[in-house]
């Protein structure tokens, strides 16, 4: 990726996503969008703002509340050579369409011996933090990461959002693209610094399977995705004040996990904290914890620390929700105990 200074603008996550969609739709007439309220409304989380006006109802299609129907239709259209981007409004709704996702979208290429390609993107909003309760606040990273046949990405920063979404659309495989509501920089949510960042204006792609070291350090490795990356960076700042230098890895790809980047860091820091907004059991902390216990065992000098939303539905009341989702403070505490132990 080569870009000149002049062409870089500060954009929110939402605007970055929007720009990627726009550029890909301009570039390739086969790309179209389907979803609930993606038309005039512009997507409940702003992913398609302005696209209906630019491309019209044929390429930015509002659908009925029929996730199995329209995401299944996206599969059928992709098999014909189109390149649909289907939006599942909240990832929490995946249960009404999971069969289409994991038994068909993810497996048809394989079952056909590689003869049927499904170049499609499933766009979906994840995450909690504003009291939307048990059916609208989940991330469900591992629910997708566990199942074979789809690439699953969850970028954090606007630059990555744009480049990875463009790559997802150009990829010949099904890609589940998770964007975090709080990182979209939407006007009607808490404003986070991380949701605004430099984004090259011209079209570019970034690899779908690479984690990124977003802060270098020598004492401990903290791995997170999306909001947990943001919290880890906050924690690292605090820890630095206390003389602890944390290396922070932003996963970006939920599946596959970029083990190389993680192991390399572990070889340096020998200590690992994994933070996950998803549920504890069988989640990211499990997968990366086990990576450390197997391929990374020789580097490990202390127990791996797993911080995740405990195995409870996300509660509504603000105090309760705050309690269950890990944050910078939890990470700081964990690292301090770990490093001083």
């Amino acid at each position: 990726m080569q870009t000149t200074q002049e062409k870089i603008k500060k954009l929110t996550g939402s605007k970055a996503m929007n720009l990627a969609l726009r550029q890909e739709m301009e570039r390739d007439p086969r790309v179209f969008i389907m979803g609930e309220d993606v038309g005039k409304y512009g997507g409940i989380f702003g992913s398609t703002t302005g696209l209906y006006e630019q491309f019209g109802a044929e390429r930015v299609m509002d659908t009925p509340i029929s996730e199995t129907g329209f995401i299944g239709a996206a599969i059928g259209a992709a098999a014909e050579g189109l390149r649909p981007v289907a939006e599942l409004m909240f990832v929490d709704f995946h249960g009404v369409v999971m069969d289409q996702i994991f038994n068909h979208m993810a497996k048809i290429h394989y079952m056909s011996g590689g003869h049927v390609k499904l170049p499609m993107v499933l766009l979906t909003a994840v995450g909690g933090g504003y009291s939307d309760a048990a059916q609208h606040s989940q991330t469900l990273y591992a629910s997708f990461g566990h199942l074979p046949g789809m690439k699953v990405v969850a970028p954090t920063f606007p630059r990555d959002i744009k480049g990875m979404l463009a790559a997802a659309i150009r990829d010949d495989n099904p890609v589940v693209f998770m964007f975090h509501k709080t990182l979209q920089g939407l006007g009607w949510m808490d404003q986070l610094d991380a949701s605004l960042g430099p984004v090259p204006e011209e079209a570019y792609t970034l690899p779908l399977n690479k984690a990124q070291v977003v802060r270098e350090g020598r004492d401990v490795t903290i791995v997170g995705a999306q909001m947990m990356t943001v919290e880890a960076l906050k924690a690292a700042k605090k820890l630095a004040e206390r003389g602890i230098e944390a290396e922070v890895i932003d996963l970006r790809s939920i599946k596959p996990i970029d083990s190389e980047t993680i192991l390399k860091s572990l070889a340096k820091t020998h200590r690992l904290v994994v933070a996950d907004e998803d549920y504890f059991s069988y989640g990211i902390t499990a997968e990366i914890g086990a990576l450390a216990a197997s391929d990374g065992f020789r580097y490990l000098k202390a127990p791996v620390v797993r911080l995740a939303t405990p195995d409870v539905p996300i509660p509504y009341s603000r105090v309760l929700e705050k309690f269950v989702i890990p944050d910078a403070k939890d990470i700081v505490n964990a690292v301090e105990t770990l490093v001083t132990a």
Binding site: P64, Y130, S131, Y316, R318, L320
Partner: protein, 329 residues
């Protein structure tokens, strides 16, 4: 078809008024801390807020025929049904404020209100409550009661797979089940003609060999009549019904909805046909009821709702650690 019972109408009036006033107070409470800049997570009531203002006839006209032993499942827009079903208003309000004294100890919130004492539940997944009502109707039948189960859904939900599977099961098993489709013309920003391949959903009853009814123009009296017939049929073992009511969404899909997708003139026109005013006029004209009697009801409504808000506002928040409780019985 028998005539309309005066007490039923007064009951409906009271419930519709309660719902309306409850939502007026709720709207205010919800917007506290969210002005001048709307921030969904701020203020005493965070999260999404779907108000039913304008849709009161759908709930009151049906639920006047039920008892607390009949089951109701509702949606993400549940206040009017919850109130008409007799859900404990103090606990319901406290729940929406996220308090320990709430129906769900602050764990459920506005979209997830459960009051087993009056067999009411709702949820945030479109269409998902229908099978639960089918299951309740099945239980009613198995236990040889004459209880019925009613599912409320929006017209948008009538295009979900759950709708089809539920109606087929209910019809096949001849269950005491009724679905009320509240056609408020919109599924968030998507108008009915962009989501539904037929003009009205009562037609779809034929796909299951059951009775289909259509109530036009948000008419509370017509809803009352049609629902009475459907409930009687269900109680008599004559099987399920589908009722679609053309109703009005006076407000945005949720609070904070910019509503750029609908004509600015739509709501004022709908508001001219306010169903509560319409019911009031009808009662005063057709029944032996005085303005004073209605005023007494109105006062009682204000009092009930204000008391609920007082209770909610002054209740305690749960302790953070309580988040870990109640996962299992």
């Amino acid at each position: 078809m028998k005539g309309i019972d005066k007490n039923d109408l007064l009951w409906m009036y009271r419930k519709m008024k309660t719902s309306r006033y409850f939502e007026q107070r709720m709207e205010k409470a919800y917007l506290e801390g969210k002005q001048p800049v709307f921030n969904i997570g701020a203020g005493p009531v965070p999260g999404e807020m779907h108000l039913s203002t304008g849709q009161e006839p759908a709930a009151a006209g049906m639920l006047v025929h039920l008892t607390k032993d009949d089951t109701v499942t509702a949606t993400h827009r549940p206040h009017h049904q919850a109130i008409a079903k007799g859900v404990d208003l103090k606990k319901m309000t406290a729940e929406i404020f996220g308090k320990k004294t709430g129906l769900g100890k602050g764990k459920g919130g506005h979209m997830h209100l459960f009051d087993p004492d009056v067999k009411f539940s709702c949820g945030g997944i479109v269409g998902a409550g229908m099978p639960h009502a089918v299951g309740a109707a099945l239980a009613n039948k198995k236990m040889e009661t004459d209880r019925v189960a009613v599912a409320f859904i929006g017209e948008g939900a009538a295009n979900s797979g759950a709708f089809h599977e539920s109606l087929n099961l209910a019809a096949l098993w001849k269950l005491p089940f009724i679905v009320v489709v509240e056609d408020n013309a919109w599924g968030i920003s998507v108008p009915k003609n962009k989501s539904t391949s037929v003009a009205t959903n009562d037609i779809r009853a034929r796909a299951y060999g059951i009775k289909g009814y259509l109530v036009k123009d948000n008419d509370p009296m017509e809803m009352y009549r049609v629902s009475r017939e459907a409930v009687e049929r269900a109680r008599n073992g004559e099987g399920p019904s589908l009722i679609e009511i053309e109703t009005y969404r006076f407000l945005g899909h949720f609070q904070g909805d910019p509503e750029l997708y609908r004509d600015k003139a739509e709501v004022p026109k709908l508001r001219e046909k306010d169903p509560i005013e319409r019911l009031k006029k009808y009662i005063l004209k057709e029944q032996e009821v005085t303005v004073m009697e209605l005023e007494a009801i109105e006062k009682a409504v204000v009092n009930e709702v204000d008391t609920a808000f007082e209770f909610a506002i002054h209740s305690e928040f749960p302790e953070p650690e309580e988040a870990l409780e109640d996962v299992f019985a």
